[in-house]
């Protein structure tokens, strides 16, 4: 390998979070907040659970129609950004390198360490088994929330897809449960990022330079 190349690689070497990942992460973060808060506004117009109504202060839009306008604006960002992210992750091999394999033994060990507050965070570049499982899981939830959303939006035009969710109200329920999973993920994700601020900084600046097989 020519010396010049090696030199440039150490200076501009692969970061833990390459620029495209960081850009897509923050676009998704903003769009998800729009989707969640406008979704709560829409939910309030006809609640699924009589005991649950979201306070107006945490919803987006003045009336239901504004919530709907936000939701059908945000959907384009979430879906297009999400598709590019999935293609990027699969095409560059990032998903394969960072998220697999997930070993059951490591999963149990990580949960034990976490319960005993002995979990180590010294290496940001390697995800532990719980992280891998949660990141893969939330991507699957992301796919289901879009599919159930499409089934609610177009139960006739996309009737073949809508059939997968049984009927209109069950599709609504699935969409709601996916939102719940995303919000729970968000709470844990943000809490952990604040506990280990280096991880938050890394998602802004790119984080440590990593070897290619770890990028």
């Amino acid at each position: 390998m020519p010396a010049a190349h090696v030199k440039s690689n150490t200076r501009y070497g692969l970061r833990l979070h390459p620029l495209p990942v960081r850009v897509m992460h923050w676009i998704n973060a903003a769009a998800m907040i729009i989707m969640i808060m406008s979704g709560w506004k829409i939910y309030n117009d006809d609640v699924i659970f009589s005991w649950l109504r979201f306070p107006d202060a945490v919803t987006l839009g003045t009336w239901a129609q504004h919530g709907l306008q936000w939701h059908f604006f945000g959907m384009w960002i979430v879906v297009l950004n999400g598709l590019v992210y999935l293609i990027y992750g699969l095409a560059t091999g990032r998903f394969r390198r960072k998220l697999f394999p997930i070993s059951l033994r490591e999963l149990v060990a990580t949960i034990r360490e976490a319960m005993a507050f002995r979990l180590k965070h010294d290496d940001l570049t390697r995800y532990n088994a719980v992280q891998k499982l949660l990141y893969v899981g939330i991507m699957l939830v992301g796919i289901v929330v879009v599919l159930s959303g499409l089934s609610i939006w177009k139960p006739v035009q996309f009737s073949e897809l809508a059939t997968l969710f049984y009927d209109f109200q069950t599709a609504r329920l699935v969409h709601f449960l996916c939102m719940t999973a995303i919000v729970l993920f968000l709470v844990v994700h943000v809490a952990l990022a604040l506990i280990v601020p280096r991880s938050l900084v890394a998602m802004l600046t790119g984080g440590p330079v990593v070897k290619e097989e770890n990028a």
């Binding site: 829409i42 117009d45 006809d46 003045t62 504004h66 306008q69 059908f72 006739v156 035009q157 609504r172």
Partner: protein, 263 residues
């Protein structure tokens, strides 16, 4: 900014380029800089995260959202499948009576007298003679057992029968290449739909529910029932139908709900 005098070349005009437009808009151009654009972009994101702060009130945000809603109308026109039928259901699943909804409560419904009721026809229609209630019984009847979905989120299975809307439009000599069919109602409600939806096999002018004449709260004597749109796109107590190429705002679309509202 100093303008360099151009060196002579056959590729350049003999006269210098007219700078007056730049001079006139100097203040505007100087106002555009990366920092302000970034500040605008960041503050929108930050505002949406502040709970209780309603960015929908900002007029720029409002017009952006309406532009996206208009774009979504076009997308829905594009994905509409004219020959694709909505799922149908069995008579046992029908809700009786159907669920009421309007822009006012049930108690405020003003019944329509069928004896004096007329359906006015206007716009791109050859035979504009008004129709009376009995005329709809004389045409072939079609029944639909389909899901009614409200924009609010609730739904029920309804059993509607009446005259196929495409058949009706053909019979009165409507211009089937026109863009819109607009409705006026006895309660001053207004609605309009696109022509492909009007001509869909599951779009009818309904006169009956569960084989009985439609009762007052649900649109007696005549209402629209289309299987491919949300509930509010199905006007009740129709008094006038216009076939037109001109879009006019409708009751709910002028209040911010998406116009096409297909399902």
């Amino acid at each position: 900014m100093a303008v360099r005098s151009p060196s002579p070349s056959i590729f350049r005009p003999k006269q210098a380029i007219d700078q007056s437009a730049l001079e006139e808009n100097k203040a505007l151009i100087e106002g555009i800089n990366r920092r302000n654009v970034l500040r605008g972009a960041v503050s929108l994101g930050a505002l949406s995260m502040l709970t209780g702060c309603d960015v929908s009130d900002d007029s720029a945000v409002r017009s952006m959202l309406l532009a996206v809603s208009a774009w979504n109308d076009r997308v829905q026109e594009f994905i509409f499948r004219p020959n694709h039928l909505a799922p149908t259901f069995s008579e046992a699943q029908v809700l009786k009576p159907p669920r009421f909804n309007a822009y006012y409560p049930l108690e405020s419904v003003r019944p329509v007298d069928a004896a004096t009721w007329k359906l006015e026809l206007s716009g791109r229609i050859a035979d504009k003679r008004p129709w009376c209630a009995q005329q709809f019984d004389e045409l072939p009847q079609q029944e639909l057992i389909v899901r009614h979905i409200c924009v609010e989120g609730w739904d029920y299975i309804g059993q509607w029968s009446g005259v196929n809307f495409g058949t009706f439009l053909q019979r009165v000599g409507a211009d089937l290449s026109a863009k819109y069919v607009a409705f006026k109602c006895a309660d001053d409600y207004t609605e309009s739909i696109d022509m492909p939806t009007a001509l869909h096999a599951q779009t009818i002018l309904a006169t009956r529910y569960a084989r009985e004449p439609i009762t007052d709260p649900f649109g007696f004597p005549l209402r629209l029932r289309t299987a491919t749109k949300l509930g509010f796109k199905n006007p009740k107590w129709i008094t006038a139908i216009e076939v037109t190429n001109t879009f006019t705002p409708t009751y709910w679309s002028s209040r911010g709900f998406n116009w096409f509202s297909g399902i």
